[in-house]
């Protein structure tokens, strides 16, 4: 069996029963050590969010706040604005998930995220992440926003490292690109470049290509600092409304 967080063989298997739900965690020794031992360090401007969940374990100075932001309701400053509100993660019950939703102010261990994550519930259809892992199918479109950060490593594995959509969009999302407003096209281009860089950085880190990762990180930083205005918002992922607009 493969590790939940990387492609290594899982050697540590945990079954946690919380809130009446069984949560399984299968980790390799390296990821398990990181889950137990990681401590927050000083903040870093580069926040690759969910694309690089293992960043803090590498020689590259990437803040765990990036990881924490991955589980927060408001993503890091480098996130496209439309993604900021995309993570309506609910943590019903005993508040065990609060730590994971407190963003950069609290430590966010992998362990906590696994426990909290498995109990994360989609506000639209009430599917839990644990149920999704069991059945392999989402319940509704809003599940993707609700489980966004937990899904990212799974999607990267299933799609050969792909974490961000490229390609066709519905007409209602194409408006921003074709809008004649000055600067619109370069901003979109920057967004795409950022997405590519994040994906490449995550891949480089997971392959332990630290030299390459450092170069990508520098490029990412340069691009972020050069970006002067927020990207045009497209549309937030709304919970199901049970009807068509």
């Amino acid at each position: 069996m493969k590790c939940d967080r990387c492609d290594n063989e899982a050697t540590i298997h945990e079954l946690i029963v919380a809130q009446g739900q069984h949560v399984e965690a299968h980790l390799c020794e390296r990821c398990a050590r990181r889950a137990k031992g990681r401590q927050p360090t000083s903040g870093d401007a580069v926040s690759p969010a969910d694309d690089v969940p293992t960043a803090s374990d590498t020689p590259i100075s990437l803040s765990p706040s990036a990881d924490a932001s991955a589980h927060s309701a408001a993503a890091g400053a480098d996130e496209p604005p439309h993604e900021s509100g995309d993570v309506p993660i609910e943590h019903p019950g005993d508040g065990a998930g609060d730590g994971a939703s407190d963003g950069a102010t609290e430590e966010s261990s992998d362990e906590a995220s696994i426990i909290a994550g498995a109990r994360t519930t989609c506000p639209g259809c009430k599917l839990t992440f644990a149920q999704f892992r069991h059945q392999g199918q989402m319940g509704c479109p809003a599940c993707y926003a609700a489980f966004a950060e937990l899904l990212a490593p799974l999607l990267a594995r299933a799609h050969e490292g792909g974490t961000w959509h490229v390609g066709k969009k519905p007409a209602r999302y194409r408006g921003a690109e074709s809008a004649p407003a000055a600067g619109a096209a370069p901003v979109i281009a920057t967004t795409r470049r950022l997405s590519m860089l994040r994906a490449s950085l995550a891949e480089a880190i997971s392959n332990e290509q630290y030299e390459l990762a450092a170069r990508l990180r520098d490029e990412l930083r340069a691009l972020l600092s050069a970006r002067s205005s927020p990207e045009p918002d497209a549309r937030s992922d709304a919970p199901p409304r049970g009807d068509l607009a």
């Binding site: 259809c125 059945q135 319940g139 966004a148 799609h159 792909g162 390609g167 199901p240 068509l244």
Partner: protein, 369 residues
């Protein structure tokens, strides 16, 4: 059949598909199209879901019915073609459902179950088909003869654009088109080609071709997709990645990159066998034709295996009086539902084997090689 048929009363069973609606042979098996000596057909399928609607795994019958009616209405009014056939699949007789699966117009999964689900087919070419309420709310497919992924993509893309104005598709800028199963999320596109690779199998090079495809993150499967064996030396190659790759990149990987390489390798293997072991190849093809023209009982697997070799014989000029199109059509006609539709009888397995052998003998009576 018009493009806007009145929807049937809610509880009435779907009448059998009128025989004239679906021709005896599907267009994608006519033997036309680019590189048709090796590439049988090309298919592009996209998955789309309605924003704000639960996916099928969470949908009760009422929601399924609501989805079905909404999609049917939009499909009938978006100008997909002059003639289309609409079927409420859940009310369609089992034999017709199997017929549609055999013609690759819908999946086996879509044929099962009684929950509300539908299928639209463009006529008379059967190029475009749309499954409603399969794993996703909508699955649009274009199926073409030969290597024609670009044309198939263009048709599906056009249908998608037409529906886009009428249905709000579930989409996230980050994850792309949102699908029930995350393995389809992103562009939601599955592109596949069906290849006839008998020579690569005979030269033991088939594994190299499979490896080359897998190295490009493509999946290699048998004639009937997931879990099926490569009966009749027919292989499907398709993409497995949909997130982080554009439609154009996928198209390029398959149509411009891997498939031309495999086509070249298969042709080269055919040439090599003919140069070095011509008598062996002649024997193989003639024996296949002999079996097909003499057998009194034929199981579908044996029929496909023999037809595969007969097709190779026709293409290599070993069986000059046998047309490739005849063999292609027979590959479809020997399938159980087609056989029963052609003979007009419901038959058990034993009777089908007899009827299959009779049909093949009759069709190949004039093929003297």
């Amino acid at each position: 059949m018009s493009d806007t048929p009145p929807p049937p009363p809610p509880s009435s069973p779907q009448p059998p598909i009128p025989p004239e609606q679906l021709r005896a042979g599907a267009h994608w098996l006519t033997g036309d199209g680019a590189d048709n000596d090796v590439v049988i057909s090309s298919r592009v399928r996209i998955a789309r879901n309605i924003d704000g609607f639960a996916f099928l795994s969470k949908a009760d019958n009422d929601l399924r019915q609501q989805t079905l009616e909404l999609c049917r209405d939009r499909l009938m009014h978006c100008g997909l073609g002059r003639r289309t056939l609409w079927l409420d699949v859940h009310k369609t007789p089992t034999l017709d459902r199997t017929l549609l699966v055999e013609r690759h117009l819908m999946s086996k999964e879509h044929a099962r179950g009684d929950a509300p689900r539908g299928l639209l087919v463009s006529l008379p070419d059967e190029h475009l088909s749309v499954m409603v309420n399969e794993e996703d709310h909508l699955r649009l497919q274009s199926l073409r003869a030969g290597l024609a992924l670009s044309q198939a993509w263009a048709q599906v893309n056009d249908a998608d654009d037409r529906l886009d104005g009428l249905i709000d598709f579930a989409f996230s800028p980050r994850f792309g088109y949102l699908t029930s199963c995350p393995t389809n999320v992103g562009c939601g596109v599955r592109m596949s080609v069906m290849l006839h690779l008998p020579a690569l199998r005979l030269t033991n090079d088939i594994d190299k071709a499979k490896r080359a495809a897998r190295d490009m993150n493509l999946t290699v499967r048998g004639f009937y997709g997931e879990g099926s064996e490569a009966t009749g030396d027919l292989y499907q190659i398709s993409n497995q990645t949909t997130l982080g790759k554009s439609e154009a990149a996928l198209l390029n990987d398959i149509e411009a990159d891997i498939v031309p390489d495999i086509v070249r390798a298969e042709r080269e293997a055919r040439r090599r066998i003919m140069d070095v072991r011509r008598r062996f190849m002649e024997d193989l093809c003639w024996r296949a034709l002999g079996t097909l023209r003499a057998a009194r009982l034929l199981a579908p697997e044996e029929a496909l295996t023999m037809l595969s070799l007969a097709r190779l014989g026709a293409l290599l000029g070993i069986l000059p009086n046998l047309s490739e199109a005849t063999v292609n059509q027979l590959m479809l006609m020997v399938q159980p539902a087609h056989l029963q539709r052609i003979t007009g009888q419901d038959m058990d397995q034993q009777r089908r084997r007899e009827a299959r052998a009779d049909l093949v003998r009759a069709r190949l009576a004039g093929a003297h090689g």
